[in-house]
């Protein structure tokens, strides 16, 4: 087995298409990370000056003067009972929109937000897609060239051959993705620290754990792509099935009224984010007075747990593997 693992590792690392995909798995997250860092940088003095100039110009308009005067004359009309103490003029200017925040949009780099809804989530999805492509192209190339039969002339134990290839594809995808995501989060952490933006307790560890779960998703995607390609014996067929499932699957589930908990995309999100909120139909909540509001059925928010998502995706993966392995064991090899 060790010999086969070494051979397959060499095979996968010598394949140009796989190397291109691995390179893309570095470049794309790097581009996303750099874009996030640039988009969230502190505004320059010139940008601040320009914004202040615009505010000054706007303040000279008749409308702004009228609104400011009105606000200062009767602040309760504008602020209700919470009339600010101190600089009323500044408070009124902010109320009518003449503040730096409105003229100088600043997007802050926050790791927690990046992890749950920002670019961090996108990076994991990109990596998963690239690793799935690597898994399919690795197996598909062997079938397209017909070299599978040649390999079996040297090692006829088909389950062993399948397993060696699968282990290598999964390990390469998992280790590589974990490395990329670890570096990604550490670099973002370094940027946030350098900006002295402040971090919550354990946020970095949460981000890293999310990244490692994402690496697991990428490894599973590579294994799924590999398994399906070994089943269909064609990269195009495997990718076609995966594309159709990803595009049409959600639509079909929605049309059939199937609970979103069976949506693979939601489950992947739950793995990456350690649980994922979703909306579904359920009995309307009872309030303290015992009265049901809104009828019998309401849209209620639930959370898909990490454990359930892992169980669902794991079962799907096991089904793919079982079908692929059984097919490879029994079918004639061209």
């Amino acid at each position: 087995m060790n010999r086969l693992l070494r051979v397959e590792l060499t095979r996968v690392l010598c394949r140009r298409a796989v190397l291109v995909l691995l390179a893309a798995a570095i470049v794309v997250p790097a581009v996303i990370g750099v874009a996030r860092v640039l988009n969230t940088r502190e505004p320059s003095a010139e940008e601040v000056a320009r914004a202040e100039q615009l505010i000054a110009e706007e303040r000279d308009t008749r409308w702004a003067k009228r609104e400011l005067a009105s606000c200062q004359k009767d602040p309760a009309e504008y602020f209700g009972g919470d009339v600010p103490e101190g600089d009323l003029e500044q408070a009124c200017l902010e109320w009518i929109g003449l503040s730096l925040d409105n003229y100088l949009y600043v997007d802050r780099l926050e790791l927690a937000e990046e992890r749950d809804e920002g670019a961090g989530f996108a990076v994991v999805v990109v990596l998963a897609i690239l690793m799935m492509l690597a898994g399919t192209t690795f197996a598909g190339h062997d079938w397209a060239s017909g070299s599978v039969s040649n390999q079996l002339l040297f090692e006829p134990r088909r389950p062993l051959v399948w397993t060696a290839k699968g282990v290598v594809v999964t390990a390469v995808a998992g280790v590589f993705s974990a490395a990329v995501l670890t570096v990604y989060w550490l670099l973002l952490y370094a940027v946030v620290t350098a900006r002295d933006a402040g971090l919550g307790d354990g946020v970095l560890l949460d981000c890293l754990q999310s990244g490692w779960r994402g690496a697991g998703v990428a490894a599973a995607a590579a294994l799924a792509g590999y398994s399906l390609t070994m089943l269909f014996r064609s990269t195009v067929a495997a990718l076609g099935v995966l594309l159709a499932a990803s595009v049409a699957g959600g639509i079909v589930l929605a049309v059939l009224g199937v609970d979103p908990v069976w949506n693979p995309g939601l489950n992947i999100g739950a793995v990456i984010r350690d649980g994922m909120p979703y909306w579904t139909e359920g009995p309307c909540p009872n309030l303290d007075d015992g009265v049901t509001y809104g009828g019998d059925v309401c849209e209620v928010e639930k959370t898909l747990s990490l454990g359930r998502a892992v169980l669902f995706l794991g079962t799907m993966l096991v089904v793919f593997i079982a079908a692929s392995l059984a097919s490879f064991r029994r079918r004639d090899v061209p």
């Binding site: 010999r3 051979v7 040297f154 004639d332």
Partner: protein, 320 residues
């Protein structure tokens, strides 16, 4: 203990179409290849040669029947005997973007063969200088050489070669044939699948002929071709010679100014003519050519319609 290297009994392979129609590729084939020498595996295209080989090597699953390699049942015991078998099945199949050397290294790595074996195999098939080029840039002849080099990575006791000279130039064909003959003489058993009778005649000591997946004939090549049973006789007066030979109870057929004479031994012809005072200008053994031989053997056969009912029950031996 059987001295047969390859043995199949009642081997059958059916392919099913999408519509459920069955096509029989190999029908109850009994194949016996003795140890040592070069054994030809002859048959027209589509006769089931490659399918039989693929079943022997575990690439295709037989519908029924038994197979043995070195006395071991396959595919069950194939992992234990595959190290003694080198094979080229149909066209060479390697990763096109890897170099010839890289392809061989990967295969050698799977069996734990050292890199010196790769060097040796490359040298044997004369691929030196091009072994670092990408496989997809190779000519068909170079691809065939690489495939043969792959078989040599194992130092096999049995070599199964499926149309190994396809695409080779004349000098390449001669080199491969010499290599095959040398291997056969060195004790390696070679199963040479081919539809080229001349190739089998030149290289093989014995042969099996199949058509429509059925065994048609098996035995020594000379016996199969009927060498020595018919002669072309050239004499100054063919009519007089024909009378003499007919009186000697030999079967004579005039043919374009010459005579075709059926005789057990050539002495029967020379003695009869000599005693009549007729001196031979030429006496040549007649052998069947490829086309007529296959036409005769496969007469009445229709490709792809083999089956149990149509099996004519030829046994290993002479042609019917």
């Amino acid at each position: 203990m059987s001295d047969l290297v390859i043995e199949t009994t009642g081997l059958r392979k059916e392919f099913s179409s999408v519509r459920g129609e069955k096509r029989v590729a190999v029908s109850d084939l009994d194949l016996a290849v003795p140890a040592g020498g070069v054994h030809g595996f002859l048959g027209p295209n589509g006769s089931g040669k490659t399918t039989t080989i693929r079943m022997l090597l575990g690439l295709a699953r037989p519908t029924r029947g038994t197979m043995r390699l070195f006395g071991q049942p396959v595919p069950e015991q194939l992992p234990h005997v595959i190290g003694r078998v080198g094979a080229v099945v149909e066209s060479p199949k390697f990763s096109p973007n890897f170099s010839g050397r890289r392809n061989l290294q990967l295969l050698a790595g799977a069996i734990g063969a050292p890199s010196s074996v790769v060097d040796s195999a490359i040298e044997t098939v004369k691929l030196g200088g091009r072994e670092k080029d990408r496989y997809k840039g190779y000519s068909l002849g170079m691809k065939q050489r690489l495939a043969i080099a792959a078989t040599l990575l194992k130092t096999p006791d049995l070599l199964i070669l499926d149309e190994p000279t396809n695409g080779l130039d004349p000098s390449g064909i001669r080199e491969i044939r010499e290599t095959i003959r040398d291997l056969g003489e060195s004790g390696v058993t070679v199963l040479l699948s081919s539809h080229i009778l001349a190739e089998v005649q030149q290289v093989c000591t014995s042969a099996t002929i199949i058509g429509n997946g059925r065994l048609l004939a098996s035995g020594r090549v000379d016996d199969l071709l009927g060498a020595g049973t018919a002669y072309r006789v050239v004499v100054p007066d063919p009519a007089a010679a024909a009378d003499v030979l007919a009186r000697a109870e030999l079967e004579v057929t005039p043919h374009e100014g010459t005579l075709h004479v059926e005789a057990e031994r050539p002495e029967e012809i020379t003695r009869a003519l000599g005693e009549a005072g007729i001196w031979l200008t030429e006496l040549t053994p007649l052998r069947a050519d490829l086309e007529s031989y296959f036409l005769r053997l496969t007469e009445g056969e229709q490709l792809g319609q083999g089956g149990q009912g149509g099996h004519d029950g030829h046994d290993n031996g002479a042609i019917a």
